[in-house]
Amino acid sequence: MSKYIVKRVLIVFPTLLAIIFIVFGIMSLTPGDPARMMLGQQASPEAVARVNHELGFDRPFIIRYGDYVVKLLEGDMGNSYRTGRPVFNEIISRLPTTAKLASAAILLAVMIGVPLGILSAVKQYSLYDITGTAAAMLMASIPGFWFGLMAILLFALKLGWLPSNGSDTWVHYILPAITLAIPVSASLLRLTRTTMLETIRQDYVRTARAKGQTEKKVIFHHALKNALLPVVTVAGLEFGGLLGGVVTIETVFSINGVGTLIIDAIRMKDVPQVTGCAIFLAFLFMMVMLIVDILYAYIDPRIRARYQKV
């Protein structure tokens, strides 16, 4: 098992190198330069050239890329062109907000999607199942920003129960977390239903039933663990995606998270900030997936046994 984890961690490095190259490349090949974006349209060409020089942006792409990688190996992600502050600090200052939002959303999604999915599968073709899956289809197709705006109009403007923007207290997280959780819970519901349906038709479930186990025990003890495997993967993927920041939801609810940080940085052509964010998020995403894989082993003894043989 530990050998597997080490292998997985090692893969992280070449992946990150490729990501840096791609992000750096895109930022360099697209027109525009950071100094012009920062100084504004009326700044003199001399001032633009001076600032580009100070930022080191006037050097050839390959030199800047090499320089960046070397510094990164020394643990330095560079300073933001825009604010002059270390890129790492900028990300860390925004991460708690995004992490809270993503965690709350994924918890909510799992708490709604999985139990309803199980119920849908166990009571297949019942009225509940039909309405449940239809509602899930609807929820998965509603755009998040629209749902967010509607939720704000109802709960903040009409009823005055919840704040419409910001991230000051936990109450501020309720609406954005629900907005993010709804489509994720819908896809988890459908996935749980499908895998659960497959599992309860397996021989060992039938055997359990034949042996006179109660339905509750059959479902929760025998079937659920196996049925949940793909659900864990998808929930992990969704969580990783949410950590990358959800620009539209952050904008609608005026939350200063990682998503808005990246968008601001892209607009201003802040190359170190964009690259830093990409690396950081890629790393985080890979770590989340690693944890998901380890969870797999925990949930499924067959997988655990396979690693133990290695």
């Binding site: 012009r36 003199s44 200063n256 607009r267």
Partner: protein
Amino acid sequence: MKRKIVLLLFAIMIAALFAGCGRNNGGTSEQTQSSADKEMVVGIPKVTESFDFYNTSNGFESISMSQVYDTLVIKDNNGKTVPSLAEKFEISPDGKTYTFYLRKGVKFSNGVEFKASDANYSIDQAMASSWTSWAYASIKDCEVVDDYTIKLNMKTPNVGFLEYLANPYYSAMLSEETVKKYGKDYGKTVESTVGTGPYILKEWKPGELCVYEANPNYFKGAPAIKKVRMKTITDVNAAIIALQTGEINAYFNDIPGINYDSVSKAEKLNMVTFPSTIFFECIMNTKTGPFADVRLRQAVAYAVDRQQMLTVGAEGHGAVADYPGNRQGYTEGDPALKNTWYPVDLEKAKQLVKEAGMEGKTITIKTYATDPYPKLATILQDALTKIGLKAEVQQMERGAFIDEVLTKGQYEIGICRWAAGTKDMDEIMYGSLATASIGSAGNWSWYSNSAMDELLTKAEAETDPEARKQLYADAIKIYDKDVPQIPLYYPDGSRAYSKDLAIDKGNVEYDRLFDFKWSN
């Protein structure tokens, strides 16, 4: 047992998740506090990332910075430039020397007195800054006469220059001692942010939030509102909702035309409109390509319906423009001419296209991809099609547009806007039409006419207001003949704030917290 541990861990995880965000913001405007110490909450599109005025990009950010700083002169509620940190100023008869007599006894928030050396140092900083040096192009140097007097010496007289000194963006007065003490870290923390302004910075999350407290020793008297929280709300729709729910008391950005009705009718809100300094224009490459031919430019002038542009671009809230600076009489030096531009006449336009030999030829319109540019480009496309041209619209990302079109001139015809820093004819006329301003400096049409240059240079230095207006009137005649741009419109600026706030309407556009007070 194992299950219990897992449950316990899960509970701890959830508790930890929200532990950090349990603090009360104590900041909504609905709180029941006595009116005197009630906190005002303001939304702006972007709170600043740095308080080092001359070393940071600032658009909306400057609103959050300027509350702690002051300028030598200031705009009053009639739009006139009046003394502020300087108690009076004199301009020499030849217009080449500005003398500022500073107020005595003005203190920075750290208790140190503001003196001529600080003013001199601040202007030196602004002149050296990559962000603001262009505004000081006509200044030779600044000198200290005595502790309370400074002199600005100009290379060439420039009547409009005083406007830059009234705008904190270009001329905030810093404390020399503090800037030198903190060096590169100046304005990067609450402690290192020191000004003479009406408010003192108390808490700051870069890019997110500023909390200010009234400066009790402010030289114009302590501000009426003692505590202010300013936060970033980028999305204007989110801000409008927050205004309506009472989560914010004011929003320091324009309300889009489409929301005018709902906001102005909202029970708890006031809305004020004013002529903005934003000028929408259609630029044409007069140097190369099809629009180097003046006949084709005149054809476009006859084809474009500016009223339609205003209706679509700003829901009709604003005024059609006849020339740059034609800001409903609110620009210094504006001769306020009426109906000088081409009427819509498609027949004449078609004739001119034919004469230029461009019938059926394809033209590319370049513009930004953000609202309202694509809509304006579609109207232009339609107009060009009606006069016998074929037109394609190319929407571009902001950086690409600035680089290709505004900096390098790689375009035929485009739509963009000029957001002026001052309200003086010189900035926009010289900036967008003089040969010296070609390219990134603002003459995006690559237009060059020596007669125009001469008039604009004369007008820049002319101290007699009437003679200056006449010079601009003459320049506008050349503008009409040469058609380097199609002037489109000036949209209205607007601000919304809650009814429990009061402010002189003439001050609304400046976004100065000092001008507000509680109405009850």
